[in-house]
Symmetry: C2
Amino acid sequence: MLDIWLDADSGSNQPQYRQLYDEIRNRITNGSIADGSRLPSVRALQAALQLSKTPIETAYQMLVAEGYAVSKPRSGLFAIAPRAGTIPDAGKQKHGRAGLYPDIPLSERQFREGVLQPPKAFRIDFNTVGVDAALFPLRAWKKALHDTLEHEFLNHSGYGDPQGEYELRAILAEYLGQSRGVVCSPEQIVVGVGMAGSLKVILSLLDPIAIAAIEEPGFRTVRDVFLAAGTVVEPIPVGELGIRLEGLAESKADIVYVTPSHQFPTGAVMPYGERLRLLEWARERGAYIIEDDYDGEFRYRGKPIPSMQSLDPEGRVIYVGTFSKAFAPAFRMNYMVIPEALLPRLGAIGHLLSVPSRMDQLAMRTFIEQGHWYRHIRRMRNAYRRKHQRLSQLLQEHFGDAIAVSGGSAGLHIGVTVRTERSAAELMELAADGGVRVYDYARTWMGSIPGMGEATVYLGFGDLSEEELALGVSLLREAWGGAIARGN
Amino acid sequence: MLDIWLDADSGSNQPQYRQLYDEIRNRITNGSIADGSRLPSVRALQAALQLSKTPIETAYQMLVAEGYAVSKPRSGLFAIAPRAGTIPDAGKQKHGRAGLYPDIPLSERQFREGVLQPPKAFRIDFNTVGVDAALFPLRAWKKALHDTLEHEFLNHSGYGDPQGEYELRAILAEYLGQSRGVVCSPEQIVVGVGMAGSLKVILSLLDPIAIAAIEEPGFRTVRDVFLAAGTVVEPIPVGELGIRLEGLAESKADIVYVTPSHQFPTGAVMPYGERLRLLEWARERGAYIIEDDYDGEFRYRGKPIPSMQSLDPEGRVIYVGTFSKAFAPAFRMNYMVIPEALLPRLGAIGHLLSVPSRMDQLAMRTFIEQGHWYRHIRRMRNAYRRKHQRLSQLLQEHFGDAIAVSGGSAGLHIGVTVRTERSAAELMELAADGGVRVYDYARTWMGSIPGMGEATVYLGFGDLSEEELALGVSLLREAWGGAIARGN
């Protein structure tokens, strides 16, 4: 293992971390590194290969992310050999067929979770990505789309602006200014097809990012886009006030991804003072902040705190929003606000941008212009507030002191901290046995740890009716009965 | 200049070409390399920096592509300093404002051409990307969309399959098998949002590509995606039978991008024998072939030659198709067929894929299922065939022996080779002065060369009426009058 020779002098334009990852992966795949054997420590490889720590850590992170190794707490990394004809799933799941489960398409709940396994037959799935489709303004949307096709297709049949239709960007700029305090011109807005795409655009606008700080736990897709781009990812723990700024201060990150309105998944809301301190960190470091305001429309208590972008005089914040929560994920439409100083670089990559259908973009412009959007947001906020209250109430009724509910009175999911000696992963399994799906969002390389006295799982409610909420909670009570620690 | 020190030993995970590019670009921008000064030859830098040729050539290619240097034939590369507050356009165009012309959105014609300049006021624009919107099946499409929203939104409001809706992939597999001989299962199809996105997915599915061969002249977006990914791009000249296989044989490419049905832009059709030889090259090299069948539905004479994918028993061909020509670019929907051996890798990156709106995907499935698609293709093929014939006829009438028309009797544009001492770029300028836009697609680092005795420009006709074709050709006759060489 320590006889890896990297192509450092032969003019290969492969970065070192990539060469190392490829070499180790190949050896695991062909068996010269045995299944289950322990990989050398970072320090040992540093000495043996005369490399710095960074490329080795990156290669190891990629091996774990791609499923070629697993991290065992306080033991190290151990190789996982793929079964013949397969490659390993991310994480520890293995599946016997090639491809994406040919007869079972990935469902939406697998999207945010990134779990590549066939969905079990769940009776109730507390997924955090579904929206209440029954309340969707179908008639108003169909009318907007019909009118757009009827009157605008003829002159808008071509490729359109790769940055997104100007009229949509103009009305978005107005909406964001009013609702979130975001200060921008339409020129700063880039309409996109989802977070992964937007993040890739951000990376191509910036000088190469060596280290990206992300929230832990957090949104897996963001981590994976950074890793795929060859960036070292530093997970920074999240506390009650959001990402822990002390953790960030110790890192060498050039960029940080945060969800300050409603941390995903813990629900922590970053207070005003912390936002100012985070901006100060970015200013001193010359770093960027990606502010993902994914469900910023859905706050149920108190006044919304202004977006970080609105507090940022230096253009360090890149604000990202989406139509996936307030509208529906099915349309694959999102947007971001680029700081002015980066606009010239946008010009260089314009033709590489991906946008949604022009018809959908213009229909959305109409939908907003005619006031349907504002009405819809209000309606959904009320509906989700009711469900949020109902679910919290049901949980208190069934579990009493054995749980604590968290989630910041915002968004489409809540956190449930259970008094137990089991781990969150074990709670998930018990729930699954009882026909209920809940989520632990364990993202650390170490996984979730039993024996801590409590464990937190997350329950979404967007696409569940009140009857389904009641059924789900009652099934959970049965499933977790024996696992709950005797209270005081 | 020769005192560039690269971070080779300090553990930087920046590839060498990237460090070199950044360093030279910075020096050009801050003036330490003077505007207009000649950059050192590749050989000189090799010696001075002890680097191999490849990273230096890549860095130089990027400097030219990004507008920081210009190549003068037989002289070398010369620095271009950006004006204060701007960055250079790709190529030699400069503009004074930051951003993407804030008050003038990029038009579709700029998309394929990649020319970042405000559209002049043209009377007739022979762009190659427009389609005949007046013939679009608006009623049938609106019905399919309406029905999908009405009956399927409720159960399809979430994220959906990141590979694309299974039902659409199933019917696409059937359609491609019948119309293009493509052999695949629905599992091999990936629905996407455009060529740039599909190409990035292809690159993430393959082992790292060092050298990509592309057609010259060719589709600029493909070149730019490869360059942005850090790949060295080798332009291979195109002849009457398509990409010149001798040129490819001399290259060290790991992948080649081709448009064998109807070369873009020359229109050359790759015959059966050449296709087999190209497959042989890929087999021997262990290389991949990207077959872009962008307008494969529109062949006006003779039997269609089977797709390369249908001739490929070893899974070396990645077939890409689009709805942009046969349907309309506005919907931003395309697809590709992944070789079976790559499907496991797709599983690892599934959640990073971008797809169009699920409603559009399912509406397209309905549109095809109900036979509208086949009717539409036939209708458009007839309409475009008529326009192709009309334009060829008009050109013969106005120019006689001074021109030769080419284009393979397929697709939505033709080539016009003019007997002249001027370059294609000069013909474009003369046409522009006369209110007509034509295209030269000059892609070589050297640009187009005058004094060759003839020059070729391209005229698209998709979105022009027969009256507009007649007006355009007559304006061209005036504009080029003096430039046409006296014939025999």
